[in-house]
């Protein structure tokens, strides 16, 4: 429950900063949390209709009549760490949530494919906060990847100062030319622990999932032995590759993509007081290692030896003379 509250707080903060509509929140009418709502998705590139693209929406949080979000039970275990309040932070959050959805096999609140006009209308939704995930679609020799987004229903109509329960979005996307069947890419995952001084809290290992278009493709264990990292080679191009992890207790997670590397950063939440430092193993004053060979005794031994031999010879000679 504490986690849910924290998540909620983070989201709320972001949403207030993000949505211009929130500025006039106070003067607007109350929201009807049970009102039948709909989401229209218009997926087009200029004049080209991107039809046949499948979109799924997942309810992240319900909304109260005062416009507050209450995270759904499913998403309450997700302990995310969002830095910043810009579009990038939103993309990061959406992408991390997407991994969480795949990892847990959540059932979408609604799904469907865009029609010949590139339009999909999902009706019968409750007001709330939704994660909108699109699968890649190939149209006229290009594969289109819709960017996963977080959408609020209802949105405020700024002119009429009323809540609009039929929301329309145009997802952002990227596209690549369709490839030869044998085009491959590499993806890496790198874990960063942000828990200096509390390393003993870390789990011994972490399970990371790689998803291909939303389906589990591979599972790897990251630990000290593999330096908390892994590389997948020869992954087919033209698919959407994404990672998520088993969220370690007591840590928040942040997943970013830097080049071909997914960086999973876990930060410790509430540090316990640090353990008492171990007493130094060597109570003596530490010294730099001795990196010289023992050469100095060689001339000393040799010289002394010569002296002894000479003295012996002298003695023996003296003995004969007397």
């Amino acid at each position: 429950m504490a986690k849910a509250k924290k998540f909620l707080a983070l989201l709320l903060m972001l949403i207030i900063l993000f949505c211009a509509s929130a500025k006039v929140f106070a003067v607007s009418e109350k929201i009807d949390p049970e009102r039948k709502s709909s989401l229209e998705i218009i997926f087009r590139e200029g004049e080209k209709n991107l039809s046949g693209a499948e979109f799924s929406v997942y309810l992240i949080a319900n909304i109260t009549e005062n416009g507050e979000f209450v995270v759904t039970e499913e998403f309450s275990d997700f302990n995310v760490n969002i830095i910043g309040k810009n579009d990038e932070a939103w993309r990061e959050l959406a992408s991390a949530l997407e991994g969480f959805v795949y990892q847990n096999g959540f059932v979408p609140a609604a799904k469907g494919k865009t029609d010949s006009e590139g339009i999909l209308v999902l009706g019968g939704l409750k007001p709330g906060l939704y994660l909108v995930i699109g699968n890649p679609v190939s149209v006229d020799g290009y594969t289109y990847f819709a960017e996963t987004a977080i959408i609020q229903i209802p949105v405020l109509d700024n002119e009429k100062k009323v809540w609009n329960y039929d929301v329309s979005i145009k997802p952002k996307y990227s596209s690549v030319p369709d490839l030869e069947p044998d085009s491959f890419i590499t993806r890496k995952v790198l874990k960063i622990w942000n828990d200096k001084g509390y390393e003993s809290n870390r789990p011994k290992e972490i399970t990371v999932y790689l998803f291909c278009d939303g389906k589990i493709y591979d599972t790897v264990i990251l630990n000290e032995d593999n330096n908390w990292r892994y590389t997948w080679e020869k992954l087919e191009e033209g698919h959407q590759w994404l990672v998520s992890e088993n969220n370690p207790e007591g840590y928040t997670v942040r997943i970013t993509k830097e080049g071909i590397t997914f960086v999973i950063e876990n930060s410790i939440e509430k540090p316990k007081p640090p353990e008492k430092p171990e007493p130094p193993k060597d109570p003596d004053e530490p010294k730099l290692p001795q990196t010289g060979q023992l050469w100095w005794p060689v001339p000393v031994l040799f010289g002394m030896g010569l002296l002894f031999v000479a003295a012996g010879i002298f003695r023996r000679r003296g003995g004969y003379e007397k």
Partner: protein
């Protein structure tokens, strides 16, 4: 009587001379073995390391490979084990013609095989490497001069280029001084073993 005493002195003298010879043989053998061990190890490491040239240029920034150490400078340096000993990379100093493997953790037995990391990480620009003053290891580093090139290659194939910036002579107790303030440090003993010669380098 004097005759006997004279013989005794000669025998003691010969024992001393033999000890000197024995110690010399021991030292020479140790030095020779160190050369063989480190040459073997560096050969194995070089086969394993795939050197990364400068960042590959992709048209698509999303397909660019960013080295892990840039994404996380705090990461442990990757190791490769040879005969149960972990190595973190190779060190080259072209001007004195050495190329050596670097062992991850220092100990006296390890120092007899190859130079060892004494402190730090190349990713944090604070690494210190210790080695014996064997001819094949660090004896020649005192002849380096400012500007000479030093190259460290990690097990991921990332290459780090340094220039010699300064030489220092430190007493054995100067642990703190040895391990602070420089991007990269190499040290070994002076011939008598009473001081440490530190070569300080700046990252290029």
């Amino acid at each position: 009587m004097k005759n006997k005493r004279g013989t005794g002195l000669i025998i003691v003298g010969l024992i001393l001379i033999l000890s000197a010879a024995g110690l010399s043989v021991y030292n020479i053998t140790e030095e020779k073995n160190a050369k063989i061990f480190s040459e073997e190890a560096v050969g194995i490491l070089e086969q394993q390391i795939v050197v990364k040239e400068d960042f590959e240029i992709f048209e698509n920034a999303a397909e660019k490979e960013i080295p892990d150490y840039i994404l996380n400078p705090e990461m442990e340096m990757p190791e490769t084990e040879i005969d149960g000993i972990g190595y973190i990379g190779t060190l080259e100093i072209p001007v004195i013609g050495i190329k050596l493997p670097i062992i991850s953790e220092w100990s006296y037995p390890n120092l007899k095989i190859a130079p060892c990391r004494y402190f730090g990480s190349v990713y944090l620009d604070n690494m210190v490497i210790a080695a014996h003053n064997y001819k094949s290891h660090f004896r020649e580093i005192e002849n380096l001069s400012a500007g000479d090139e030093v190259i460290f290659t990690d097990m991921d194939g990332n290459r780090f280029f340094y220039s010699v910036a300064a030489a220092e002579v430190l007493p054995p107790e100067a642990v703190e001084e040895m391990t602070s303030g420089w991007d990269f440090t190499l040290f070994t003993c002076n011939p008598a073993g009473t001081f440490r010669v530190a070569i300080r380098c700046d990252r290029n």
